[in-house]
Symmetry: C2
Subunit: 372 residues, 2 copies
């Protein structure tokens, strides 16, 4: 009998998963809001709220294997599904820890994983400004995504911006580089890592702007990043994909920032640049197959296409120019409406880093996601 795989969340990650998954002989079900990017290419798309216990149970009980493409799902429902004998990846326990940044930081402490110093507060009244001095970082424990829910408090004039919400308060790390390592763990316990990724963030939006892979770091740093990422993934003791984000500080030291237990924006270049894309890897992990080869056959860059200042029906300008660039791959996410900073698509470029800087500039000036 054909395995039925269900995915909670139907955004661009689910969409790219489906594009790869249709190469395999399984049946795919997805649940998210109406018109989510997956709805255009999924025969079994269900409208529903993945934070709602009953909606998840109704969706997933007829299925065999449950995966996610977003952390903010109801983990009680996932636990109940696991208790009912379903395969749930990642494990509901791991997900419950990761989706609460407070529990995630405590998990790092418990497992002696090197992460910036922190303490937890229930509200802003509990913040001890003296403890780390300025600047410091406030992260909402739950619900943040795509640059939302994290802020840097630079001095007393920023204090009025503090959120009165359960938060992680973190010592500010003077960052030289932000990198990521994607770890894949199959159901048999095998582990493979992808080459490191160097991420450049949009300072205003606090969102990934573009990335290069492999990262331009020393061999020792790459080995350290790989070791830390494996340590994080292994500590969760469950199959899945783990995108481990790390800081390299100005002394060259590496720190684990956070982890996403799923396919991730930092792995989009693997579609064209790696022997096995992160999305195909997810199919293999969910279905119990062996992991695919994680090496890159080309160095690559990836640029996010973020919505410009417009709000409304999305239009992408400049794809004619884009189509004239060799080894350049558009990925449009099929979102009907755009808003400022919304992730609307991405572009992957193959080639050596020095060659790609000019191309990134060309794409940034040619391609725009706007509305009328």
């Amino acid at each position: 009998v054909t395995k039925k795989i269900g995915i909670l969340g139907g955004g661009q990650l689910g969409r790219m998963f489906l594009q790869a998954a249709y190469n395999y002989p399984f049946v795919y079900h997805v649940m998210d809001k109406a018109k989510a990017p997956c709805s255009q290419l999924c025969e079994h798309f269900y409208e529903g709220d993945f934070q709602d216990y009953h909606a998840i149970m109704d969706f997933a009980m007829p299925l065999d294997i449950i995966g996610i493409e977003i952390e903010h799902v109801n983990t009680d429902a996932l636990q109940a599904l696991e208790d009912n004998g379903k395969t749930v990846i990642p494990s509901p326990k791991a997900l419950a820890i990761i989706k609460d940044k407070g529990l995630q930081k405590q998990f790092y402490s418990q497992h002696a994983i090197k992460t910036p110093e922190y303490y937890l507060v229930a509200d802003k009244g509990e913040i001890d400004i003296q403890r780390f001095g300025f600047p410091f970082v406030q992260k909402q424990r739950t619900g943040g995504y795509d640059g939302k829910g994290v802020q840097i408090i630079r001095d007393t004039s920023d204090l009025h911006r503090l959120w009165n919400i359960a938060s992680v308060i973190e010592r500010f790390t003077p960052i030289a580089k932000e990198i990521a390592v994607l770890v894949a763990l199959d159901q048999q316990g095998h582990m493979r890592t992808y080459p490191s990724v160097e991420m450049v963030f949009d300072a205003d939006l606090n969102l990934l702007d573009y990335l290069f892979s492999p990262a331009d770091i020393s061999v020792a740093q790459a080995q350290c990043a790989d070791r830390l990422a494996r340590q994080v993934a292994k500590s969760f003791a469950c199959p899945g994909l783990f995108a481990v984000e790390l800081f390299i500080d100005q002394q060259g030291e590496l720190w684990v920032n956070e982890v996403a237990p799923r396919v991730h924006n930092s792995g989009h270049h693997t579609i064209e640049a790696a022997y096995t894309s992160q999305f195909e890897q997810m199919v293999r992990i969910l279905s119990g197959l062996s992991l695919g080869k994680t090496g890159l056959h080309h160095a690559a860059a990836m640029i996010n296409l973020l919505g410009a200042e417009h709000q409304g029906v999305a239009v992408v300008k400049g794809i004619d120019e884009l189509s004239m660039l060799d080894k350049t791959y558009l990925h449009w996410y099929g979102k009907t409406t755009t808003s400022p900073g919304r992730k609307m698509g991405h572009v992957t470029l193959l080639g050596e880093r020095q060659m790609l800087a000019q191309k990134i500039a060309t794409i940034k000036s040619a391609v725009h996601v706007v509305s009328f």
Copy 2:
């Protein structure tokens, strides 16, 4: 406004087109029989007969651009759509010639394209056995596909097998190799070719069994194949993809066998091995964008997964073993039922030819499409 692209035919070629096309900001409509492979991943899937004039008109009049994934469509309808200002690729005129193998051969004669000697017959009574002697080839003028509609008449004991149908009677070419060259022509008139492909046929089924690319032929032969393929495509004077199949005879001479004006089984390896897959190229051509780079970044092989002797609900055995092979890519077509010799999927392998022979043998012994 978003361009609406319609595809006639919803089989595996349409399915792989859609997988690539969802990376672009267009809307896709497909028409074929219920449960065709595209139906699982196409929001705008229409049940209908692509040989029916009115069905095509109803389907395509609200759309902007019409493409095909099979030749056997009603070309009168396509002509009417073109007359109504729709973009139709390939041109209805080219398609009308190609889908009739008699007209196709006459077209080669008119354009001085080197093709095996032939004559046309309205029925078997018109066949002149003396003319080419034995063996000779009979090809049905219309309706043949996937190895059906072509037979070799080896001696008088085969004469009872002659079809009493309008046919091309062709001089038999003693073949050393069968190769193919895929040509891409965009709406601006630019032309690019993919590296040559060497095809190995299943003698019983008269179907492509596996292929290698690039073909193991001399530089002069590769240049000649490229030149002939360009000559064929250019003669049709319309945008599109043209898969030109050629014979190399035992004297090393090249002959054009036939052409398919669409994505083709001989181009499936381009998904993983080329900088631009044939399916992405089709999106670019239909939408008026520039052609992508056609070079291969890896040598490759491709094996068709054909239905075994069973008939019924399809099950694929051996994908666990398959997932353990590096640089090996499954493409399952999502067909619910299998029958002997039916194309159910394919597997692409990256690597040098000498390395791949063993892998092909492993896959042939491990992977089987059966039923219960």
